[in-house]
Assembly symmetry: D2
Homo-oligomer: 380 residues x 4
């Protein structure tokens, strides 16, 4: 338990129209401090603002810089019990130096050297992997080996055993997303170590995981003896070929005059639990957006925060008052209630898909489950 006792001190007053601090009031405030009390009237502006004002700031991390540092860590830092993973997390510059991309979300680059194993463990934190480039690593979830390739999204619901294994002669890096900050602030976390070694069968490298063979057929639920899980997706990989086809289909429908997109030139899919149609993880939403060349999305504000990674193409993104040029692998955060829009660059040549593909994850399921979600579209 963290038992550092911090003195209560009236914060920088965040409300207008404060009473004059007369000697009597000063004495009252000292009494509050002594009894571990804080009045609302000095704090209300910070605690109860007219709309969310995030403690986080918009920020951009370049994939190249991350990759270089991760590769260097691959040389210097072993992976194994204790540290568990060679993961290096984005630390939002205004969140106190903690490894929190936003107040609720963790985003890290994970790096595995040829032949390395990241040992088996499980935890209540919900996680996923998203592969911006490379291949060759297998995630083994409850004994089911799942290959990872460019564009694949792999959810990892809380409390399932999992390990990683690099079966190739090349290092591999990918994005890890978790709800570590959310579970840290709400204090829900459990963690257990698993076996030290995977079995030989788990080190095989099938093209499709068993989860995909059972649950990866559109609209079809297997009637196996095993009951369907309560809330987290039984499908352990969402392969890029399906995501890409779904986005292409939406844009083709739009071109044929049938709608199907979010807005002109903007296709998007959400990764969902096929057993429920709901979000793939109970605290994390994940989506892929495609913006055709020259198109621009309308600004949107939402309660809750997002992390984006550029998967294909390049363009500019605007978060609040800040605009950045972004390209493959770049990561950036959109804090709560900051406006967001993106524009795909007309001349981009680094796109397999002909547009700007943005992978997004966010904490919207938390807000929706508690009915705290709000959205405002347009410039207002």
């Amino acid at each position: 338990m963290s038992t550092t006792r911090t003195p209560v001190r009236l914060q920088a007053v965040s409300a207008p129209d404060q009473p004059d601090v007369t000697p009597a009031l000063h004495e009252l405030y000292r009494g509050f401090e002594q009894e571990l009390l804080v009045p609302l009237w000095t704090e209300i502006g910070d605690l109860m603002p007219a709309h969310p004002r995030s403690r986080a700031v918009p920020h951009l991390w370049h994939w190249d810089s991350l990759l270089k540092l991760a590769a260097r860590a691959g040389e210097l830092v072993p992976v194994g019990r204790g540290g568990e993973r060679r993961a290096i997390a984005l630390a939002n510059p205004s969140l106190g130096g903690r490894p929190f991309a936003t107040p609720t979300l963790w985003a890290a680059i994970q790096y595995l050297m040829p032949g390395e194993d990241a040992p088996e463990h499980r935890h209540t934190q919900h996680a996923f992997r998203f592969v911006v480039e490379g291949s060759g690593v297998w995630t083994v979830v409850d004994g089911d080996p799942v290959p990872m390739n460019r564009g694949d999204f792999l959810p990892q619901a809380g409390w399932n055993w999992h390990a990683h294994h690099n079966a190739t002669t090349e290092p591999m890096a990918w994005l890890d997303g978790l709800d570590i900050p959310f579970q840290y602030v709400t204090e829900a976390q459990f963690f257990e170590y698993g076996r030290d070694e995977l079995s030989a069968a788990e080190r095989t490298t099938p093209r499709r995981s068993r989860s995909e063979r059972l649950w990866g057929h559109p609209g079809l639920r297997p009637l196996t003896a095993t009951p369907a899980p309560a809330g987290d997706s039984p499908l352990l990989a969402y392969k890029w070929e399906f995501t890409d086809a779904a986005l292409a289909d939406q844009l083709a429908l739009e071109a044929e005059g049938h709608g199907g997109t979010v807005e002109p030139g903007h296709a998007a899919v959400r990764f969902t639990n096929p057993a429920t149609g709901g979000d793939v993880l109970s605290t994390i939403r994940a989506e892929m957006h495609r913006i055709t060349r020259g198109a621009e999305t309308a600004p949107v504000r939402e309660t809750g925060s997002s992390v984006y990674q550029v998967f294909n193409g390049s363009g500019t993104v605007t978060v609040g008052d800040t605009t950045w040029s972004v390209t493959r692998g770049d990561l950036f955060v959109v804090p709560s209630w900051e406006s967001f829009s993106a524009r795909s660059e007309a001349g981009a040549t680094d796109s397999d898909s002909g547009g700007l593909d943005l992978f997004r994850f966010c904490d919207a399921p938390v807000f929706e489950a508690l009915r705290l979600n709000r959205t405002r579209r347009g410039d207002a």
Copy 2:
């Protein structure tokens, strides 16, 4: 927006088996700091513990001390626009001096002088009032005046207009509970000012609110034209006479050999939304427990945190390793996964009910909605 940029600095390392910090590793860590990155392997012990280790500590506040300071604030600090409420909040000693009783819950004493009005406003934060003593204040919710008397529980679901009005010649104090810290960390908050003056009709003081006349009949839903609200209770007061009778009924059933209690000598009810049977607020659970003289509850650990207030009687409560004697009005917190039990004192004379009555509120609905809840009963 809070834009203070904090330098990223590797925290006090919270994981075993760290690699030796060679010059090369030192340089790597400097690179991380420069790029706003933090590795998992130095932080994992703090972020991913084997079980929740709360940043909050168990703590007890005596009602007498609170009441004295609140009364003094009544003399010195006006209530009105800007500060909005004369509310003084419990600040857990290890939560950085912030007005957070636990990482997710706000608990404050609110104090209104004779004839005073606390002005109308609304906010997304969910709130309730609980009255440990006194009477005479009316809460006006969306135009419906609701009286407050000893033992009454008054939920105040987010985004409803509300004001308070002291119609008597005596000051009155009560407990305010809110999810301010939870909405602060997740950044969901909206706030609006309402009318400056209540109408004459709203200053009347009927014995029962309109909400009670519509929704306060057991098992009976009014078929009014107005649809029932989606998730927050339409019943604005849970009067003590019903709570008391429900607890007495459970203990009588137990005495007749029919069970009905949580455990021997321990009766309890949860305040629920009559339109759904679910929790009275979407982020806050509220309950009343009665422990008969000489009885003791079995220790329980739960994910999530609670605040208790003694309503009747006296006894001892044990939170983790700490045991306190408590009496009417005293407030204490049970942090996440700390063990809790309570014993009612045999000779107590300050109980209307013949036992130790404990009012409790906690953040369990958040954990249940996201399936992060765990409970362990017994000493283990």
Copy 3:
């Protein structure tokens, strides 16, 4: 199994524009009959009408006549194993002489002589009792004795053990409502005999059942070790005093200018499961309506059928094209999509409540669960 083989015969053709029955077509139709086939085109008008056209007709039964026949049955027909209950059911005149008040609902008068017991059994059919007059019978549900008095509503969810016992020296009659026809047509029924004798403890006559002591407090859920039931109400009696007070409160609110009624002069409550806020039984909805003297309800059409019993007062009711004068105890049916309205008679003297109180039960939960419900208000 009913194995009577009925010859397939083309029904009275219920569609326009039939093809001429040439010899070739005649031969085809003979072929259909031989192969147990029926074409859609001859039947479509009956099977797929523009809107529901009930096979049932509106009909009125007078309580006096029912009571006389039931009393005579009390003398002539013993109650006991095999017949199980002395219940006499309404048979809608156009439903083939079956004991079906509507295509889905059963309504019967049940009659118990002084000292008699109706033996314990259980069945998947959902049931309730409603007491229009008299008192003295106890229903014993899973060992919990529940008294029955004028105005009380007692739900009896499927598959709970139950028996009845007349503890007085007077006979008693009441209304039984069940979903027997619905479970008959869908073929869902199970039935089991229980113990032949109740225990002495079960023959006691407490004022309130244990279920009421646990679940009968408004908005309060008992935190007993026993988990709450999945879908049927744990509250076994809805006493008249609460129903009456709820209706009076709505009319008082209306008189004070605050709304609260369904329409002017028309108050109504629905009996709900306090654990969920939903309907008291999963296939049957039950409500009490009060229409003040001189008031008249607007006509309403709904999918699904209802049975009404007059509890207080007298007036006229209009079902489709038929209008009847009704008084205490009278029962009538409203078939699917027939328009219904009621008028309270100005000079009625037989009302405890000062108005026309109508008890209603219907099959709306079935329609809502399957999203087949539709309602049309007004004369259209």
Copy 4:
């Protein structure tokens, strides 16, 4: 409205231990008849049996015979307004000659001649098409043309506009399944005529419907502006290639020692709504089962009734006490609570898939929504 008044007549008594019909009792029974009343004690055995005893009987229809009669109807009976569809329904031999395959389900062969159109209409009855052989017809649902080919399953949720169009020079037949009997007995039906002519765009024949392009990607939900529908599947075709692959995957997993099947040699998938994971229609469940050569399923009893069609292979099926040899296209019914099992014939040569493929539809969603479902596995 059907207003035939049927005399109430005491049914063939279906309960044991009836009282002797003395003259007094005879007179009482005459009184019942006059007042349109029926006692429970004479009817209880039929209405409240120990377990469901279906009014339907197991029965088998041979596809060849159906197809011949349907082809003859194609020559003799025009399709068009009034009759609406050239559909010929299975009439269970013990259901009074009505076109009801079971008490709740309709199953018909529909037949469309080259170039014919079945006109647009909509109805609250839920429907689907299943194609056992042939191709060339397009179903047009709310303007979206959906091709139909062997093995495809096409749900048609209630109240959507739909028409059919044969674009080829060959006639085509397929299976229509609906909940006509269920909506007939509960009296929920609405029906409307649509446009007389489809537009040219609707007569085009794309390879995939728009619904498949939006909703046919596994685990991916389109984020279009259009909100997802409440309860019925937005996916209008479940193509055979996916169903076949899902079944093959399950059997391959089983062969590799990983389970995945319902029982040894028995794979099965359920057609589900991708927006919810629930049943494809709110009153009808649809599944495809594959039994490998030589395998046999364990007997199962379920509340509710099913209709099966053999899609591939041949074998024997046992329903209650009856066993039939079946082959491609054959249709049979399993009444409520009758035991069912199937065996795939070792030497079958008429199977594309190497096993016995059985398409099944049933009324289980009704039973589950109302919590009336029960299942018993094994011979007991």
